[in-house]
Symmetry: C2
Subunit: 282 residues, 2 copies
């Protein structure tokens, strides 16, 4: 059986981060200020702590300063909003990342909306989402933005193709569908209530799996030669795509790990430097 | 040949407006203040003048006061933004409608964004769109909101069905797709770059034609028994659906005129009263 070409997200992410680090260094040379990403964490969930630490490490390596705001688990919505508003107003902070989920007692949407749009480098605010949907300037959600960069890297032009987003979350499924629509794909959204998911996915020239169900999409669901993007995260480094069977049908496929994952942080860092450049009038 | 049942938008709109008028009268009885819709028109385009006048007339009949702001054709973006900001800040105005398109020399998006979200009864701001996309509270785009009401009226439950939006405009195609997705349909967006539009439309249990091309969707494109919503406006009261052929295949179909059109104004008036109720603490 033929084997799909692997889409090397790790390699592309590395090149984006290198380029970002050059821009960060250049910015610091010319303005004296390094780009600064504020990370905000509520509580001490171990996975969230790990994610935030990873983002801080990657930032540092790219010449981006981190400002960490650690808030106790019992932080209220009002307290979190106040902290985010303070960062939004602080001219030495250029990007703000609220690690989420934030816990059920907090109004996450209210917290996101306290992030100034020009510092929303994680692309989580309502206005960032809408701007992305309408093709207006602004920051994109990082994972969807990373997926589009991967498609470009492998010369996949979505125009006129059928694309299927499996999943409809606010930070992944919905925005990636909107970005693909903006690039002239015919876009279908699938989800848990979709009848006969396999047959819908089989229509797709481009599949983005973004639902968080291990190995939901199998080889037999893939149109031969399709581009398969696995944006699922499940325990044990398992994606939403059953890689072993899908790789024999797809034309291009992202591995897990090393596919979409590294792109998310690369786009976060890149957008942070872009935000800093704009805010510093560079 | 069988004939589809007609979806009587005119009749449903009339009932919604009657209910809205009762709420407006009740609000005035209890607070002394009538709901007030501000209409803003730039220039004197005859079609726009007619639309605004119609909205004013319908408002008056429903017990909603109109405040009309007529601006000359040479109005700048900054002047229009200032006018909209003033209305946004005016406590006697509860809803704001900017008649659009506003002319190529004006940044329409900047103008829309000057409308306070709580007065955005036409559902045109970025935050209204995003809130609608995420199922959060807020005002919907009027035509998409009217379409959902029509579906409810005829007991069409989108959950698990395939829905196709033909068109991807910011006020019609994109939001109606998001509303259908929020109601658990499997949603596909088609547009001018879609390959083999007929075969995609033929997959649909629910078709929303919203592209502004006369009679683009023909009977042979319709899956037998499908629900066909014609939201197209073309000269001569012609929709985007070829009614005469589609009516023999569809299960339910909106006529043009008398289908979607009347629903748009009904939802505008209803949202204006809702806005007034909220702003007056009712």
């Amino acid at each position: 059986m033929s084997q799909a070409q692997l889409m090397d997200g790790a390699g592309l992410a590395r090149r984006i981060v290198e380029e970002t680090a050059k821009r960060a260094a250049d910015l610091k040379d010319r303005t004296g200020a390094a780009p600064c990403l504020a990370t905000v964490l509520v509580g001490e969930d171990p996975a969230s702590v790990t994610y935030v630490r990873m983002k801080q490490n990657r930032s540092r390596k790219a010449g981006i300063e981190s400002r960490h705001v650690a808030l106790p688990a019992h932080t209220t919505t009002a307290e979190l909003v106040a902290a985010l508003e303070a960062l939004s107003a602080d001219p030495t902070v250029h990007g703000i990342l609220l690690q989420h989920p934030v816990g059920p007692h907090i109004d996450e949407r209210a917290a996101f909306e306290a992030i100034a749009p020009e510092k929303d480098v994680d692309g989580v605010t309502l206005s960032s989402y809408a701007a992305m949907s309408f093709g207006l300037p602004g920051f994109v959600s990082c994972t969807p933005g990373g997926i589009m960069r991967l498609l470009d890297e492998y010369d996949v032009d979505p125009a006129g193709k059928r694309a299927v987003a499996v999943g409809r979350s606010a930070i992944l499924g919905k925005p990636v569908g909107m970005l693909l629509l903006g690039r002239d794909a015919t876009v279908t959204y699938c989800h848990s209530r979709t009848a006969d998911l396999s047959s819908v996915v089989r229509e797709a020239d481009i599949v983005v799996a973004a639902v968080g169900r291990p190995r939901l999409i199998r080889g037999e669901d893939i149109k031969p030669g399709a581009v398969v993007i696995d944006a699922g995260y499940n325990p044990g480094n398992v994606g939403d795509v059953d890689f072993d069977t899908a790789v024999t049908r797809a034309g291009l496929i992202t591995p897990v790990p090393g596919g979409v994952g590294p792109m998310t942080i690369a786009v976060l860092l890149e957008q942070t430097v872009t935000g800093a450049e704009r805010q510093l009038g560079f």
